[in-house]
């Protein structure tokens, strides 16, 4: 899993040297910037279910045709799966906040995403709507500090871009 620390170690190992002063400085820089993302991760973890539920409700409200017979949100099983998918994205975003990079989203969310949705015949627009709702719902300083919110929004944007 890529992070600042593992990148630094991989580079030092490739050169066969001990961690140098500049290696340690770049790790220190990443550590100093980590307070905001850890705050966002902590608050998102505490409210993940609610955030995901609101985002799911918002996208079904906008794309209400999904409730029609035969559509992706028509039965209870489908509804549960849709809600679960949104929750998966929010969980991966939380992982990215913890790691401090887009590794978890890239490896576990985006890789193969297009192929899966095409095979299952799922529209991506509702996912975009759900994540956009979460993007606009977050509010500083009510939910988290401005720095933390900006880290969180950056990752939501990243996920939205991957879907659109």
């Amino acid at each position: 899993m890529k992070s600042v620390v593992t990148t630094v170690i991989a580079a030092a190992d490739a050169a066969g040297r001990f961690p140098s002063t500049s290696d340690l400085e770049s790790v220190q820089g990443s550590i100093q910037r980590s307070a905001a993302r850890l705050e966002a991760a902590e608050k998102l973890a505490a409210n993940l279910d609610n955030v995901a539920k609101e985002a799911y409700d918002a996208c079904i409200k906008k794309y209400s045709y999904l409730n029609n017979a035969g559509e992706a949100n028509s039965t209870d099983t489908y509804k549960a799966k849709c809600a679960r998918d949104i929750k998966h994205y929010m969980r991966l975003i939380q992982y990215c906040l913890v790691v401090g990079g887009t590794g978890p989203l890239d490896e576990w969310g985006i890789s193969g995403q297009r192929e899966v949705y095409r095979a299952l015949g799922l529209p991506t627009a509702p996912y975009v709507e759900a994540l956009s709702f979460a993007r606009n719902r977050g509010c500083a300083p009510r939910d988290m500090s401005p720095q933390a919110l900006s880290e969180y929004n950056t990752l939501l944007d990243y996920a939205i871009n991957s879907l659109s």
Binding site: V5, F18, L24, I31, A41, V99
Partner: protein, 184 residues
């Protein structure tokens, strides 16, 4: 390769739950500078640590530098010093990452079998690693006493506080123990 953060993520993903124990990671961040001091203490003293460890190992077993010993011609002695440095280097990476995966994957995996195939005596290797473990503990704690060091007393001058990085000494020791366990 994992670090303290990605290890938490991989563990949480195994149960499809969010990373709940943020407090531990915050502590990792809060102690970050001390960790970097500890890595620096090892990296800056590496060549001294390695040569002392190998010298100590040979001191206790003179047979190693006699004809037929595993450190006998300079070529094999050099290989021995190089291996000591490699092991110490991966321990310093593990300490920097706060996770042993880099040490396991890139250094210890297959090391015992390689040494067995090359006829390297692992008891001697383990002894050298034990000496490096003691040295690392001393360098990280950076608290030499007048009584032992005498005129050679020298401090790195890292701004550590009173607990003298006890947790980092323990963590570094655990990585050396991992090397010893992998070899024996």
């Amino acid at each position: 390769m994992l670090d303290a953060f990605s290890k938490a993520v991989v563990a949480a993903d195994a149960s499809t739950s969010v990373v709940g124990d943020i407090g531990k990671l915050k502590q990792f961040v809060a102690e970050g500078n001390r960790r970097l001091d500890a890595v620096n203490a090892i990296a800056s003293n590496a060549s001294c640590m390695v040569s002392d460890a190998v010298a100590g190992m040979i001191c206790e077993n003179q047979g190693l530098i006699q004809a037929g010993g595993n450190c006998y011609p300079n070529r094999r002695m050099a290989a021995c010093l190089r291996d000591g440095e490699i092991i110490l280097r991966y321990v310093s990476y593990a300490l920097l990452a706060g996770d042993a995966s880099v040490l396991d994957d890139r250094c210890l995996n297959g090391l015992k079998e390689t040494y067995a195939a090359l006829g390297v005596p692992t008891t001697s290797t383990v002894r050298a690693v034990q000496i490096m473990k003691a040295q690392a503990a001393a360098h990280i704690a950076d608290n030499p006493s007048e009584a032992r060091a005498g005129a050679k007393l020298r401090k790195m001058g890292t701004p550590v506080v009173n607990d003298r990085c006890a947790s980092l000494v323990a963590e570094a020791s655990s990585y050396f123990d991992r090397v010893i366990a992998a070899l024996s």
